[in-house]
């Protein structure tokens, strides 16, 4: 087990009033080393809060979280720094940890090549398409060699073709690196395409968990795939 949430609750104090807004309540789950887990659920009911808690961006109000030291994240918006070149964006995390220059060069180029961005290293994010920017975000997250890779709805603003290409890229990264991947999505089909296990978050807590035992690559037209989607959809809309 690499990540464990034990009865985690997160509340935010509302600025204008002296009251608290619940973001997560009594959430418990475990994620195994090397597992690909997808967190799905309706908007605004705590999916992204889970990623922020795992990454250490916020702390739980109650409960305990066990997580590894190095966790990295790719964001829905890409969150690239527009004034930096693609190479510098990818190398950013390594530079912050005072890694020697030759390792920064090697590691950054390794993931730039893995994400097929070699020809863009001197470009700026504004020169790239949405899909290419997401690839940069993923390469940047991988460059720091994290134990866990968090993906916060990274494909939500992309067209279906680019999304399908990036799904293949993410699965390849997962197979090649053996990293634990935790991804948030609002699409059941996307979760079934990628994840080994799907955690459904509803009303700020874990509503259900679905292991997906289908072999890769998964085809959306397959009967078993449709069966999985239908099963999860029932719970999603219940």
């Amino acid at each position: 087990m690499i990540i464990e949430f034990k009865d985690v609750t997160k509340t935010f104090q509302l600025e204008e009033k002296a009251r608290f807004d619940v973001a997560l309540q009594h959430v418990s789950f475990e994620i195994e080393q090397g597992e690909f887990v997808c967190i799905i659920g309706p908007s605004g009911e705590g999916k992204s809060t889970i990623l922020k808690l795992i990454s250490g961006l916020i702390l739980p109000t109650e409960g305990t979280i066990t997580k590894p030291a190095t966790v990295s994240m790719a964001f829905q918006s890409g969150a690239l720094f527009p004034w930096l070149s693609i190479f510098d964006n990818v190398a950013l995390g390594l530079r912050a940890t005072h890694t020697p220059q030759h390792i920064i060069q090697e590691e950054s180029m390794k993931y730039i090549d893995m994400m097929r961005l070699g020809e863009f290293i001197d470009k700026r994010p504004s020169d790239l398409s949405g899909g290419q920017r997401q690839r940069v975000g993923i390469a940047r997250a991988l460059a720091v060699n994290p134990h866990v890779l968090l993906l916060d709805e990274p494909f939500s603003a992309l067209d279906p073709k680019t999304t399908a290409e990036l799904h293949d890229d993410v699965l390849k990264i997962w197979r090649d690196t053996g990293k634990t991947i935790v991804m948030v999505s609002h699409l059941i089909e996307e979760a079934v395409s990628l994840a080994q296990r799907i955690i459904l978050i509803k009303e700020y807590t874990v509503a259900d968990t679905f292991p997906v035992a289908l072999p890769y690559p998964r085809r959306e037209q397959a009967t078993e795939f449709m069966h999985e989607v239908t099963k999860i959809r029932k719970e999603f809309f219940k």
Partner: protein, 276 residues
């Protein structure tokens, strides 16, 4: 189909590349030709207006006007750099959290609304006592400039996307490194905008800030600070229209040069710091 789509994309990119190359060539030609032309024309008019000795007040030569321009620019830019150095930490402090925002922003708003010149007599007395009369003009310019930068930078800080802050935290960019590597580049476009507004405000005030004799009892124009502003006011007061026109022309010329060679370039450069 695939290769067609790719080639279309490629040609689109090539066209845009050519367009930008042409655009930058055009800009380069513009700066190569227009810049020196403006300088030559400006100097021609300056020397034409002040070419004969009988038009001069207190033996002002065109060279002295250029020297006065330098003195005025020195005061303006000293005040500007002081404003910039103080404005950024103030803006950071004001947006640090919701409490500092609630307290400091209305406070800054009130201070900004008080006319800087209201303090001028006291400021002059203070700087006369410390034998640094230039400091009075610089301080008043500073007071009038700083809020333009503070409020523009506050606006810039408030629109930094949340994910940028999260990404910085995830990759352990914190403390001073966070300010240097994330905050300062993020607010660079607003620093440029604020600087343009601040300098414009400074040019407005320099005319008053250099003419300090009106604030000192019994003082004459001999007590004024030497600069474009004071020459302008004194030439106007004694009806030396030629001097007045020459000084105004020099002022417009310098402002145009600064705009062309500094601010336009910085505005263009700042585009790369903007979030989409």
């Amino acid at each position: 189909m695939k290769s067609g789509a790719q080639s279309g994309k490629h040609s689109g990119r090539t066209i845009s590349k050519h367009y930008f190359r042409l655009q930058s060539l055009h800009e380069r030609l513009y700066s190569i030709l227009i810049g020196p032309l403006v300088i030559v024309l400006g100097l021609f008019f300056l020397f034409k207006f002040l070419g004969t000795g009988d038009l001069m007040i207190h033996s002002i030569s065109p060279f002295k006007i250029l020297w006065a321009t330098g003195a005025t620019l020195g005061r303006l830019f000293t005040a500007y750099f002081l404003s910039l150095i103080c404005a950024i930490p103030l803006a950071l402090l004001a947006t640090y959290n919701s409490w500092t925002e609630k307290i400091l922003l209305p406070t800054f708003d009130i201070i900004e609304s008080v006319p800087a010149l209201a303090f001028f007599p006291v400021v002059i007395l203070f700087f006369i006592n410390v034998h640094f009369i230039n400091g009075a003009a610089i301080f008043i310019l500073f007071l009038s400039m700083i809020w333009n930068i503070v409020f523009t930078v506050v606006g810039g800080l408030q629109i930094i996307p949340k994910d940028i802050g999260y990404a910085a935290k995830v990759f352990h960019i914190t403390g001073f490194r966070y300010i240097r590597q994330i905050i300062l580049p993020s607010i660079f476009p607003e620093i440029v905008t604020g600087s343009i507004l601040a300098l414009a405000q400074g040019w407005n005030l320099i005319i008053v800030a250099e003419v300090i004799h009106t604030y000192i009892p019994g003082a004459t124009s001999q007590n004024d600070l030497f600069g474009l502003g004071s020459i302008l006011v004194n030439a106007s007061a004694i009806g030396q229209t030629h001097i007045f026109v020459a000084c105004i022309s020099v002022m417009i010329f310098v402002i145009a040069l600064l705009n062309f060679f500094v601010w336009q370039r910085l505005i263009h450069y700042a585009q790369r710091f903007k979030f989409e």
